[in-house]
């Protein structure tokens, strides 16, 4: 079974190149996630509305943090959408994940303002601190770092968010502190 490892927002040359080489073939961990009754009800409500797939996937990801493989099969089945389309869509949109992210998702803004003000350095420093690269999860499952486009707080650049909580005017030497704040909580 092939896996998908296409969902990245590459930001530095090195990272981009590494990721290109790794775009294929990684077996995802088997999981036995199943749609909950609430999710099934949500799908039932959305089923009559055409073009519902993306909305349903958002809801599924909100629940699991990613789109588990079994669940993708269930969604295809319940919505009566070809599985190929489900995967075509999931892998097209950067927000959808096929692998479970860290408990804390650190999103570093790489909008223009943040880039000019050192967003790249923030990512490198976070990689140093956490010991994993972009879009990977720390071994303890706590953190994952991704680069995102414009969180819409350009006035506070550089900006990062942890599970949606925004930190503005971030300096490199504050990062360890920010990470420590969440770790183990």
């Amino acid at each position: 079974m092939l896996s998908l490892e296409i969902q990245f927002i590459s930001l530095t040359t090195e990272i981009a190149e590494v990721l290109i080489l790794n775009t294929t073939m990684e077996k995802p961990a088997a999981d036995d996630k199943k749609l909950t009754p609430e999710l099934k009800e949500f799908i039932r409500q959305w089923k009559p509305k055409p073009g519902n797939l993306i909305m349903v996937l958002h809801r599924v990801q909100e629940h699991f943090g990613y789109i588990p493989r079994n669940v993708a099969f269930e969604v295809a089945d319940l919505l009566d959408v070809p599985l190929a389309r489900v995967y075509g869509v999931v892998t097209f949109y950067h927000l959808f994940k096929l692998k479970k992210p860290g408990r804390f998702k650190i999103a570093v803004c790489m909008g223009t303002a943040c880039y000019l003000k050192g967003g790249e350095d923030i990512i490198k420093e976070l990689e140093n601190i956490l010991g994993v690269g972009l879009n990977a999860v720390t071994p303890d499952g706590e953190f994952s770092v991704e680069a995102v486009r414009c969180l819409g707080c350009c006035g506070l650049a550089p900006v990062l968010s942890v599970n949606g909580e925004v930190h503005g005017n971030v300096k490199k030497d504050q990062l360890a502190e920010i990470v420590a704040k969440y770790k183990g909580t």
Partner: protein, 129 residues
């Protein structure tokens, strides 16, 4: 809420316009308006909002309304807060952290003295008056 007819919409508008222009209803003549866009919230507008609530409560002020609004456009000095006190020109404060919020309540609202270094100008001449 009942569905509005055209007439009811007009009536509602007149009522609300009066209310908005003249906030002295129920004896509340001071307004604190906190900018609560993504930018403002990211910069701590929620804490600021809470600080105002707390400080006003502790000061025993009963004539102050605290409201939220969207982005005032002053992203470099979020959180931003507009303060409207009778007999004083209304001003916009920027970089209002809980500390400054406390000072605004004590100095500006109670003492009628503006606070140095935190006043910003809303960069707009609202031509639609």
């Amino acid at each position: 809420m009942a569905k509005l007819t055209l007439e009811e919409l007009k009536k509602l508008r007149e009522e609300k316009r009066k209310e908005l222009n003249n906030r002295r209803t129920e004896g509340k003549d001071v307004q604190v308006i906190v900018g609560m866009g993504t930018c403002g919230i990211a910069a701590g507008a929620k804490d600021t909002f809470d600080a105002f609530l707390k400080e006003i409560d502790q000061s025993g002020l009963t004539n102050v309304t605290i409201r939220q609004t969207g982005c005032m456009g002053l992203c470099h000095s979020e959180p931003t807060v507009e303060v409207i006190v009778p007999d004083m020109p209304s001003v916009v404060y920027g970089n209002v952290n809980p500390d400054v919020a406390q000072r605004i309540v004590r100095k500006h609202i109670v003492g009628k003295i503006m606070i140095n270094d935190h006043i910003f100008d809303k960069p707009a001449a609202d031509i639609i008056k």
